[in-house]
């Protein structure tokens, strides 16, 4: 098992290292083969590992990283059911995206850098999934952050894109302050960084300490998972190549925050107040982001806000104490959102880098393959009854509803409204961009794209359609995922709800989803000329949050930097010290005579001094 897991994380690292060092001298095809093979090998390791795990968990130390005093940090692995599922999902989606990228990046001269970062990203993400020591988790955590930064700004020639990368890095690092302090706290209390040692001791935490810890970890998760109020980097992150958006900013990295909360769930469980805050953040973000998604014109920004909103559901699940539901939705979301992004990537490339949905149309005619794939993705995202996203979202809403506390009813209502809005914005996007309409694109405006780009999406689409089977509330293989995750601390397999509640919730959320789709049809669906929309400045700017940050944080920060420099450092400190120095200098006329002489003078003086010193020294030594 140890070798297996080691290979699982080392394959992508090896791919990145080889391509990073030698890639410039290798032909394109070789670089692509190295990158993709690394991932496929890793995928097969993950698949073998999940078969072999069988309800157990494995802990082992790779090697001791550093030690000082009584602090010791190891690179150690904690492989349990949760990690196994996560690793399999990451390697599967990443493999598909690597293969897709080969076609997507076919004309980009910078493919070496691209595949190198992509491999490195997968490695870091696997470290997050498997690591036991929180410091080792942090290595992955920052690793994905760096790759995200580098890939958002991949086309660095455009300052807007480079800035978007910078913004993502800084905002997620803001959240990491919470991570750092939480780790320091845990170490001070428990003397260890190991998740497997911390979790069993979590019950000894006082309520106050548990709440503090929970809030700190939540803050870290907010940054990484783009939850309110640290949301604004995610829409900008769409500047990166579309496969990157699919992998990093939809399927994997943005769910790392949720995953961290699940890994440390026993700690979080100790704090009902903390969980309330978590649920609140999740529910409000889910609702907020689905409103913002309603008014976007850029297809990738619709999907970005949608990701934010869906991750909000996962956070809500953790807040409602249902990590099985959260993980279930994390998986479904990974499949259908990756599918949607990759489909959008096909569209964007076929339409010569067009992102505006209002300038699309007629894609049913010219890109039929992509049309059907996107329809699958859109149905799953809208939680169309019996498809992937339906069961997982339904479960989260039910957990929230039955969770004790009046506030949770409010969160449930927010979640329900967001579910309706999700169907609405998804099919707004779909109906505007895809069906045939008189003012849509003409065939001359649609460039052919490699068939491979659509073919490779079929497995993803099948998974997205069928992944409800993982945890069906009834029938054969009932709650397979729940039983699989049963050994994970804090996991609840069967919910404490009556059959009536189950049915009620199922019917309610199914009808909301259908209602949303039908409304979208009436508003945008009938084949006609689509009017340019009235701008919804509040919604499309996501309630001016970004502008507010710029006005209240970024500008004052830059302004203060210049002020500190010019007015304090140069005007006050430096001049005062210098005037002191000048008077000192004026007083020592002798020294001045020396320091303005010629080079030869200095050298002579030096030699005299040195010879004197050496003579003295040698003399003494011999005498002694």
């Amino acid at each position: 098992m140890k070798t297996l897991l080691l290979l699982l994380i080392l394959f992508p690292l090896g791919g990145a290292a080889i391509n990073g060092v030698l890639g410039r001298h290798l032909p394109r095809r070789v670089v692509e083969i190295i990158a993709c093979t690394a991932l496929l090998c890793s995928l097969s390791m993950a698949a073998t590992a999940i078969i072999k795990i069988g309800g157990e968990s494995f802990n082992f130390v790779l090697f001791e990283w550093f030690r000082a005093g009584d602090l010791s940090v190891s690179m150690s692995i904690h492989f349990d059911a949760l990690a196994a599922i996560m690793a399999l999902m990451v390697t599967f989606v990443a493999s598909i995206i690597h293969l897709y990228s080969v076609a997507f990046m076919r004309d980009d001269p910078d493919f070496v850098r691209y595949f190198c970062y992509l491999n490195l990203f997968t490695f870091s993400m696997l470290v997050i999934a498997l690591a036991d020591s929180l410091i080792f988790v942090y290595l992955g955590w920052e690793g994905v952050g760096f790759c995200s930064y580098a890939l958002i700004g991949f086309w660095y020639g455009d300052p807007v894109k480079a800035t978007a990368g910078k913004k993502a890095f800084i905002m997620t690092r803001l959240g990491d302050i919470g991570f750092g302090v939480a780790v320091a706290l845990l170490f001070t209390w428990f003397g260890t960084f190991s998740i497997t040692h911390i979790n069993p001791q979590a019950a000894t935490l006082s309520a106050g300490s548990a709440t503090l810890l929970t809030l700190l970890i939540l803050f870290a998760a907010m940054g990484k998972s783009a939850q309110l109020p640290l949301t604004t980097w995610l829409p900008d992150a769409m500047a990166g190549p579309t496969p990157v958006s699919a992998l990093i900013h939809a399927a994997t990295m943005v769910t790392a925050g949720v995953y961290l909360l699940m890994r440390l769930f026993p700690v979080i469980q100790q704090s009902p107040q903390g969980m309330l805050v978590i649920a609140c953040v999740g529910a409000v973000t889910a609702f907020y982001a689905s409103l913002a998604a309603l008014a976007q014109r850029d297809i990738k920004r619709v999907l970005a806000y949608s990701t934010m909103s869906q991750v909000g559901y996962m956070i809500l699940a953790v807040g409602a104490g249902d990590i099985v539901g959260g993980m279930f939705h994390l998986l479904s979301h990974a499949f259908f959102k990756a599918l949607l992004f990759l489909g959008a990537g096909c569209v964007i490339q076929a339409l010569s880098d067009e992102h505006d949905i209002f300038k699309m149309g007629n894609l049913h005619k010219y890109l039929p393959g992509v049309f059907w794939l996107m329809l699958v993705g859109a149905l799953c995202l809208s939680a169309f009854p019996t498809l992937g996203g339906y069961f997982s979202k339904d479960r989260i809403l039910l957990s929230t509803f039955i969770h004790p506390g009046a506030s949770y009813k409010l969160f449930w209502a927010l979640g329900m409204s967001a579910a309706f809005l999700t169907a609405l914005y998804t099919f707004r996007m779909f109906f505007i961009a895809f069906p045939n309409r008189p003012d849509g694109r003409r065939s001359s405006e649609v460039k052919p794209i490699p068939r491979f780009m659509t073919l490779i999406l079929i497995p993803l689409a099948l998974f997205a359609l069928a992944d409800g089977l993982l945890n069906l509330p009834f029938g054969m293989g009932k709650r397979w995922l729940g039983h699989f995750l049963a050994s994970v601390p804090g996991a609840v397999v069967d919910m404490n709800a009556t059959t009536g509640m189950f049915l009620g919730m199922a019917i309610l959320s199914a009808s909301l989803s259908l209602l949303g789709i039908i409304l979208a049809w009436f508003l945008y669906g009938r084949p006609k000329t689509v009017k340019e929309p009235n701008p919804h400045p509040v919604l499309s700017s996501a309630f001016y949050l970004d502008a507010a940050y710029r006005l209240l944080v970024v500008r004052p920060y830059q302004w203060a930097a210049t002020l500190l420099w010019k007015k304090i450092d140069e005007k006050q400190l430096d001049q005062n010290l210098e005037s002191f120095g000048v008077s000192f200098n004026a007083a020592s006329v002798v020294m001045r005579l020396w320091t303005t002489g010629r080079l030869s003078t200095y050298l002579k003086a030096f030699l005299v001094g040195l010879v004197g010193f050496l003579a003295l020294f040698v003399g003494r030594v011999t005498l002694w």
Partner: protein, 492 residues
């Protein structure tokens, strides 16, 4: 081995090399080749020392060389080596080699005297790191400064004269106070015991009233605080860095600043433990203040060398925080960070130097879009920038996390503020990367040569160092264990 004065050999080999250069004909090759040979041999000697001392030492020192020098005044020539000194010798000789290599084609005038001064500085710095007779320490402390004065003053950039005088006045002021305090301590000790000596260990036994201890400590600390440099005594550093030639910046950031930290660790704290303990809260506040203040100012710099200089001040602030938080974790972190900063900041200065050779500017407005023309250079630049902002897996992370987690134990608020301070570091580093590498090419830049073999060798070696320190810092930390334990016993 035991009879051969290895430490003296290491310390004085550069001096011999320097003197040898003076008798050679004045051609560029003679200077740089001698310098390279000497620094390489010196590095080899230190590596030899490293492996011959693999066992755990029983006493404080791994190796001592002790001779009478001026017996009338109780001045001895004592060089002692412990784990900390050993690592610093390694860093010094390593950066000595790189400084020679990076100056290879950069220095075109008066090459002979240039390498003379370069090697002379190295002798001074090496001496500082092993001298344990206070007078000898002071001697080396001065030796290291004066050649720097010339390196900046002669081979520096446009405003070198003014800057170098500023540099010398700042540092000399500090060392003057230290000299007075040193003689004061000597006198007090002599009066008490009848034995007049400058040797470190007997002087540590001197019983001082808190009053006197405070004053002497303050005088020592002034010298060290200027060197580290601590806010608000830092203003000489950005100027000096900006004007210094590349190797000057490397030595300044990589080594000279470290002598300040080393001085606190080796002399100020153990000689005046009570005063040191009293000053800890103040030091912590000053350290954190430096982290925020310098990182904040760094963002608004238009000159890339000034930006890195301010980043140094911020990083050293964190080191001071670790020194003052004073437990085995933070001290390990601080000492490790001294080495880390020496490696990664030197790398950044070398990168800027390489850039400066191609584009005759240090201003951000003349850079931009470099990745297109210099991909290998840019990859290195990004790598060392990430090391500088503390990406895990690279060197600075380990030091930073040790300092902050260790600080949390006794001072959770300071630690939390420190974690927040790291974010300030991220902001200016990303700004530097973006303005240098990304965007479109600016200025009249048409065709830039990517790094050549020599430059790749320098950067590659440094990159390996960064990875090693980031992934396997245990041997280094292990070397620090002994010195840290002893200091903690002395101070508490």
């Amino acid at each position: 081995m035991n009879t051969f004065p290895m430490l003296s050999a290491i310390v004085f080999l550069p001096l011999l090399g320097a003197l040898f250069i003076l008798i050679l004909p004045d051609r560029p090759e003679s200077g740089r080749r001698t310098s390279l040979a000497v620094t390489l041999v010196d590095l080899a000697l230190v590596v030899l020392l490293l492996f011959s001392n693999s066992g755990t030492p029983s006493g404080q020192w791994l190796r001592v060389e002790d001779y009478a020098w001026i017996p009338a005044l109780g001045i001895r020539y004592t060089l002692s080596l412990d784990g900390l000194s050993l690592m610093l010798l390694l860093l010094t000789t390593f950066l000595g080699v790189l400084s020679t290599l990076i100056s290879w084609n950069q220095i075109k005038e008066k090459t002979r005297s240039y390498y003379f001064f370069l090697l002379l500085t190295l002798t001074g710095i090496l001496g500082v790191f092993v001298a344990t007779d206070l007078f000898l320490f002071y001697f080396f402390w001065e030796i290291q400064i004066i050649p720097m004065f010339f390196l900046v003053g002669i081979w520096g950039h446009e405003a070198r004269r003014r800057t170098t005088i500023k540099f010398i006045i700042f540092t000399m002021t500090g060392s003057l106070f230290m000299l007075i305090a040193l003689i004061g301590l000597y006198t007090v000790h002599g009066r008490q015991t009848g034995i007049y000596t400058f040797a470190l260990s007997p002087l540590m036994e001197t019983s001082l009233t808190l009053d006197i201890q405070g004053w002497l400590y303050a005088a020592f600390m002034l010298a060290f605080a200027i060197k580290i440099p601590m806010v608000p005594l830092h203003t000489w550093l950005p100027d000096t860095h900006t004007q210094a030639p590349t190797a000057g910046s490397v030595i300044l950031a990589g080594l000279l600043l470290k002598t300040g930290v080393y001085g606190v660790f080796r002399f100020a704290a153990p000689l005046f433990p009570l005063a040191f303990r009293t000053s800890m809260p103040l030091l912590m506040v000053l350290g954190l203040a430096a982290l925020f203040y310098a990182s904040w100012i760094a963002l608004s710099q238009t000159d890339i060398k000034r930006l890195i200089a301010y980043s140094s001040i911020g990083h050293m602030g964190l080191v001071v925080l670790g020194l003052a938080a004073f437990n085995s974790i933070t001290l390990s972190g601080s000492l490790l960070q001294v080495i880390n900063h020496g490696v990664s900041t030197s790398a950044l200065f070398i990168l800027v130097g390489i850039l400066n050779e191609r584009i005759d500017s240090r201003e951000f407005k003349d850079f931009g879009g470099l990745w297109k023309q210099m991909p290998v250079f840019s990859a290195f630049f990004l790598f060392f920038s990430m090391a500088s902002l503390g990406l895990p897996g690279l060197n600075n992370f380990v030091g930073e996390i040790l300092i902050l987690i260790g600080t949390y134990r006794a001072h959770p608020v300071f630690s939390a503020i420190g974690f927040a301070g790291l974010l300030f570091g991220v902001i200016y580093v990303l700004r530097m990367v973006q303005d240098a590498l990304f965007g479109e090419l600016r200025g009249a830049v048409s065709l830039l040569r990517d790094v050549n073999a020599r430059e790749t060798l320098i950067l590659g070696t440094l990159a390996l160092g960064v990875l090693f320190l980031g992934l396997y810092p245990r041997p280094v930390l292990h070397l620090f264990d002994g010195p840290i334990r002893l200091l903690m016993e002395t101070v508490s």
